[in-house]
């Protein structure tokens, strides 16, 4: 799991922080470890124009959140929903559309670590929550 790309993405600072004029702020929690995330989205015309997150977590959760944000900025809500759907399929070990996932696929072996899926999905569940 702990390959170079994941370690690099876990330390990324680019997407960490707060967006003052966010149009959506969503909080997520991982009940197994107490990790929390606050996700800031700036949505204009059904398109995510900026996103950032706050919170601490393990390398897997941080890498996942950074990869997620990198992959949702400048995408429409509908495109993001397709992305989320494919991410969930990947974690369940089901067939998924590789072309949609890009570098997120580096985390595909998460399906073999049932205890770490919650870490990986923390940001994604929070993102999904923000559309409800």
């Amino acid at each position: 799991m702990y390959n170079e790309l994941i370690m690099d993405y876990s330390k990324l600072k680019k997407y960490k922080g707060k967006i003052e004029d966010a149009t959506k702020v969503e909080e997520g929690k991982n009940l197994s470890c107490g990790d929390e995330i606050t996700l800031y989205l700036k949505i204009e015309n059904e398109r995510i124009v900026d996103a950032k997150f706050e919170g601490i977590g393990c390398a897997i959760s941080q890498a996942s959140a950074n990869l997620m944000i990198e992959n949702i900025i400048n995408k429409s809500i509908d495109e993001v929903k397709i992305l989320i759907d494919n991410v969930y399929k990947m974690t369940r070990g089901e067939e998924y559309d590789k072309s949609v996932l890009g570098l997120i696929e580096e985390l595909k072996s998460i399906k073999d670590y049932p205890m770490r899926i919650k870490c990986f999905l923390l940001a994604w569940k929070t993102l999904e929550l923000s559309f409800k």
């Binding site: 702990y2 470890c33 990790d35 393990c58």
Partner: protein, 413 residues
């Protein structure tokens, strides 16, 4: 080290994972099971098993005798009477039973005070907090004042209250601190004293009479036995008057459309078909530990703890929680500055075969205490936890320490 070599009784320890032998340091969550205990339990299921206390045939008689023999041995173990030993599914069920029965019997009323601590695990915390909302009693919390979540006896004296109930752990599942129950009893001579012995009983014999404990709860899966079975000791003067928590078969005397009368103790609190195999297996586990000797078990665990604490002292950027003296037993929680506990636990397993626990250990209030005292750049709301039992060795701790040092290098902290 133990005078008897018992490692071959635990076949899991001779397994290797990715080339490393398993170093099992998660016994505070649940212990491994010895082969002799499993063999005996297997024989019981194959040759003696039937439902208990009902039928008159041979298998039913044998099962009933073996179940009651288990009760007798646990009563001897705790210096109680057999009718004061109730089998439940575990510590959590036992504590829920006590709280609910106290409320139903009006022994815990509106404005009564329950005193507990901020180091409790959720089983001895959540029932009090939730049921206080529903029934109006008040819960007060003792805050640990010594290093990283360590309770001092003076912390209890600070509370100028007269609690109806004092509900306290005998051994913290996070800080590893042993609590002096005798002193707590002396501070609160008139309170109903409930001891959560989930972490304590696996390494210590408790005399409920000499300590004047009113209720004691523990789970068998943390002391080499099956999961899903626990023991609740209750003083008979309370059990006689308490309203049962679960109603159903076997706990009744006469049943009519008007009302129901209850069976005698302990059956009044054991509704339905019990976990028969669990109870019989619990006794086999107890016998196994008694054969080693409880004093030897505790000494072994204290020796390992002392050794581990000394080793940890020499690693930079690591915070060890709980006390540093002989009151620290068997459970070592720590954090490495800048590395999340889940990453530490995952890498220890994957690269070194070391099984530890990471997370909030079902003790979220204590995580808040640790967070307020931590000197880490960011406290992760959780900790790593290595816990030791009879099958661990100094070599296991050396492997853990080596793993931690290597992980620190990888993360460059």
């Amino acid at each position: 080290m133990l005078s008897k070599n018992i490692l071959s009784d635990f076949p899991a320890l001779s397994r290797t994972i990715k080339g490393n032998r398993i170093v099992y340091l998660d016994s505070a969550a649940s212990t491994l099971k010895p082969k002799p205990v499993i063999d005996k339990l297997s024989k019981f299921y194959l040759e003696n098993y039937a439902n208990v206390h009902r039928a008159v045939h041979t298998l039913a008689s044998e099962s009933t005798q073996m179940l009651e023999f288990s009760r007798k041995n646990f009563a001897n173990f705790l210096n109680s009477s057999e009718h004061e030993i109730i089998f439940t599914s575990g510590t959590t069920m036992s504590i829920n039973l006590i709280v609910e029965s106290l409320v139903r019997s009006k022994m815990l009323n509106e404005n009564d005070i329950v005193l507990t601590t901020l180091v409790e695990h959720h089983a001895n915390f959540v029932p009090w907090v939730r049921l206080s909302k529903l029934h109006g009693f008040r819960v007060e919390f003792v805050e640990p004042s010594l290093r990283f979540g360590t309770l001092a006896i003076d912390d209890f004296l600070k509370k100028d209250i007269n609690p109806k109930v004092v509900a306290i752990t005998g051994h913290s599942n996070v800080t590893g601190q042993l609590i002096d129950i005798e002193k707590i009893r002396n501070i609160f001579p008139n309170s109903i004293l409930i001891v959560d012995g989930a972490q304590l009983i696996p390494h210590q014999r408790i005399d409920v009479k000499s300590l004047d404990i009113d209720f004691l709860c523990f789970s068998v899966h943390k002391m080499l036995g099956p999961s899903g079975i626990g023991v609740l000791y209750g003083k008979s003067q309370y059990l006689e008057t308490l309203e049962p928590f679960l109603y159903g078969g076997e706990m009744i005397d006469k049943v009519s459309v008007e009302d129901v009368t209850f069976n005698v103790l302990p059956y009044k609190f054991e509704a339905g078909t019990p976990n028969i195999g669990g109870i019989v297996g619990a006794n086999y586990a107890l016998e196994y530990l008694n054969n080693i000797g409880y004093d030897e078990v505790k000494k072994h665990i204290l020796d390992l703890t002392k050794y581990a604490i000394e080793k940890f002292r020499n690693i930079e950027n690591v915070e060890v929680y709980g006390p540093l003296d002989e009151s620290h037993c068997g459970i070592l929680s720590f954090n490495i500055n800048g590395i999340h506990p889940h990453d530490v636990a995952h890498l220890l397993d994957e690269k070194f075969g070391v099984a530890i626990r990471s997370g909030h250990h079902c003790a979220q209030p204590l995580m808040n205490v640790l967070k307020s005292q931590s000197r880490l750049s960011q406290f992760p709301n959780s900790t790593c936890r290595a816990s030791f039992y009879i099958y661990n060795t100094y070599e296991d701790i050396n492997i853990l320490i080596e793993g931690i040092k290597r992980i620190k290098e990888w993360f460059d902290v």
